[in-house]
Subunit: 193 residues, 2 copies
DNA sequence: GTCTATAAGAAGATAGAC
DNA sequence: GTCTATCTTCTTATAGAC
């Protein structure tokens, strides 16, 4: 268990702070303190706040994608894989690492910083749409169902569930939204074994 | 068309800036410039940034609630009223005035500032649940449907739709999520006239 | 009510020593 | 690679004149 090197600690610290406070709310000083790195260290390894944030966002995007893939690429029916995604462990009140950045004006205004966020959500929707399409192909889901729209609704319930949970300071709000979506999906499923 | 008085301009300016930049990203100076009010003016009318933000958030919460009520309290079947809510005009890429505040660490950390956000989302879910319950009562929607969970899912798709739209810089992402939800609701509805 | 002056501290770096 | 010094601008006010 060696201590990660300085650049690595800076990236990980920035990931944590971006998650909790966003880009606008995260200062270089706070990053340095969290990473136990000096001013000079940070500016030696990274050109500045934006450069470091880019590394952190790319890292978070890759992690998120891997976690989603674990659920969506698992075994089971389409509905079971969607359930695995919807019910996977989440730090609900902390929100989505990437989704929160979509609210940040300085992220949205900076094309470099926005790109990994954009790409990840594009990937997620396509990945979810693929699973929905599988469900339609195997007669689990009705033939008329639009995989892209359904996928977008699923991703939106998760992102919106986070918002509702934070707004009400209660993870229950997230759970309720997920339960509502699962009930709708269950109601239209063809229950084939 | 008189110019609103100073306190009023300060509140409206703060509403706009909170919407676009959040609490952490909004400085008193920016508010003063937007409102064309001086430093002394602002601190004469309000105790400080938090006090002014509270007034602005309460105002935005009341406005949002009134707009939702217009759609949800209109005439028509339950599904038509939900559609009216889902399809009402929105400034999609700007996001939700209140939902974006749920991401703000300084809002969540301050009970006074969080309260109007919390209350508004509680109200919205209950209001939506009432409409869903109406639908169940009138046999538009299946008897087994959980109104609270369905309401949470509907609110989450809207909030999440905003997140997806901002993440992808495209209002289409919002529209797709709404379309997905409407397709699910349509599929389970009983199509009674 | 509004204006200007003042101020302690943070934000986001740059420069040069070690 | 890391450290300290320095710098400009911004943040969030307070104080007192007008």
């Amino acid at each position: 268990m060696d201590m990660p090197d300085t650049a690595e600690r800076l990236i990980r610290s920035t990931q944590e702070l971006l998650w909790d406070r966003g880009y606008v709310g995260t200062s270089p000083k706070a990053i340095q303190q969290h990473a136990q790195a000096g001013q000079g260290s940070m500016y030696h390894h990274f050109a500045g706040k934006a450069d470091l944030a880019l590394a952190a966002i790319q890292r978070s995007a890759a992690e998120l994608r891997a976690e989603a893939e674990t659920a969506l690429g698992g075994r089971g029916t389409a509905l079971e894989r969607i359930d695995a995604y919807l019910l996977r462990e989440r730090d609900i009140l902390r929100g989505c690492r990437l989704g929160r950045l979509a609210q940040d004006p300085d992220i949205v205004a900076n094309e470099d910083l926005r790109q990994p966020v954009h790409e990840t959500f594009d990937w997620l929707r396509q990945r979810l749409a693929g699973v929905v399409a599988d469900g339609v192909r195997h007669d689990e889901l009705p033939a008329g169902l639009d995989p892209d729209a359904t996928a977008a609704a699923i991703a939106a319930v998760v992102q919106g569930g986070y918002v509702l949970a934070r707004a009400t300071s209660s993870p229950d709000s997230f759970a309720r939204a997920i339960a509502g979506l699962r009930q709708l999906l269950g109601a239209i499923s063809q229950h084939r074994q």
